[in-house]
Amino acid sequence: MERTVYLDYAATTPADQRVVDAMLPFFTERYGNANSLYALGRDAARALEEARETVALSINAAHPDEVIFTSGGTESDNAALFGIATAGGRSSGHILVSAFEHHAVLEPAHWLGKRGFEVTELMPRTDGIVHPEDLAAALRDDTVLVSVMHGNNEIGTLQPIAELARATHERGALFHTDAAQTLGKVDFDVQALGIDAASFSGHKIYGPKGTGALYLRKGVRFAPYLMGGGQEGRRRSGTQNLPGNVGFATALTLMDAERPAETPRLTGLRDRLVGELLGHIEHARLNAAEATMRLPHIANFVIPGVEGEAMLLHLDAASIAVSTGSACSSGSLKPSHVLLSIGCPVEFAHGSLRVSVGRFTTEADVDFLIRTLVPVVQRLRSMNPMYEKTLAALTGQQG
């Protein structure tokens, strides 16, 4: 595994050694159940609340209790959608989600849409942005919940969350954002954004897999999704994953501490990547290139005349790890719904390449990717029976 050039940090990240070190005592020594009254339990409860305060402080929550620990981004998204929509026994109303949400938001929305709620998918524009005026036009008097992700996991565009939340509140609905890709990577202040709920995932920020959190503003009515022993202030049952939660909080602290230096470094790597790739691969395009507000670490390309998986496998043979479409759905054959939502033609969507850099990426990694990619693309294009046609269409279109 060692010489892998890992360029898929948006799919998952290695846990930072400092995160693992922070977790270790909680496996074998400080193993109490945070709900037990005796010393070992109280010690666990204190550590749990410290982790909660760390997260609350990082996202500028008004109160630590606004942070609920979960098993990851997916559970947070599911809990937010179901929990807010059905709070107080509500069984109907209008829900608005952007069309390029992660499936962990889309699927619960569609589920609700089949059971009494009405769901509208809001299209982003070709710049990869959900525009507040489009949201304002789609909001209705009976809209109860709007969910628009903060940073898109495939194309890396950042959404104008504060404006979207404001527009939502003007019509009396609640606003949730899936921040699985943005927490720790850009400044994330729930009060400045004015949001009601947000989802986070630990394994995207060098924390452990199977961890995450849901921010839920005080006063937001919520029906718990996992039910049972009543942990997490009765909002999420299940014995708390203390090592995991401590790991998540530690990971976030590290992200916050290193961000001032890390953001320009990652941005530089990404820009180098974009420049080199577009310079060396004919007809390649950066998706949602017009967007100025973007995550520092994600770049998504369309490489016409090439199929994504084949490209990925050739790069893999050179020990380069990148992705095409989102990791979760790469078992599927459908082209990315994200790319389609921003107007990318289906035939090009099949040839997308997502590169995401991270803590351990170097310039040499980026250069190695480019060096390896050029002959791979050339070879695949030469095997493509339609490439001449594609080329004619492309140059005709561009000419």
Partner: protein, 146 residues
């Protein structure tokens, strides 16, 4: 979704890539909207496939199945070649992930079309039977269970 070693070997070193310029038969299947396009050209001698080449735009399985089908068909009587089934192709490759089984259809269909094209050029009756993927609106993914 793991590919077998043999799939990876054919994907990495595909056999018989290219186009036979003066081909006796040409088969084209798939469409770019589905993500897979394949073109097979054959040289036929005495109703036997003397030479065969392919070009494929598609995933690892699409390329590997194209490659293996050309290997299997080379030297075969055209009557036998059109009988190669998607399961023959898959098992020759040591199996395919379920989500990728449709790729084998493309490969065998491409070959069938090439054979029928050769027959047609010589005024003979087609022998390949129905070839669903010749229809440009055909989506092989719809065959999948999910």
């Amino acid at each position: 979704m793991l590919y077998s070693d043999k799939v990876m070997e054919h994907f990495g070193n595909p056999r018989n890539v290219g186009v036979i310029e003066d081909a006796d038969g040409v088969g084209e299947v798939g469409n770019p909207v589905c993500g897979d396009v394949m073109k097979i050209t054959i040289k036929v001698n005495d109703d036997r496939i003397d030479d065969i080449r392919f070009q494929t735009l598609g995933c690892g399985a699409a390329i590997a199945t194209s490659s293996i089908v050309t290997e299997m068909a080379k030297g075969m009587a055209i009557q036998d070649a059109v009988k190669i089934s998607k399961n023959d192709v898959a098992s020759e490759l040591g199996g395919l992930p379920p989500a990728k089984m449709h790729c084998s259809i493309l490969a065998t269909d491409g070959l069938k079309l090439a054979v029928d094209d050769y027959l047609k050029k010589h005024g003979r009756e087609p022998i390949a039977g129905e070839v669903k993927s010749a229809d440009p609106t055909f989506d092989p993914h719809e065959d999948d269970e999910h």
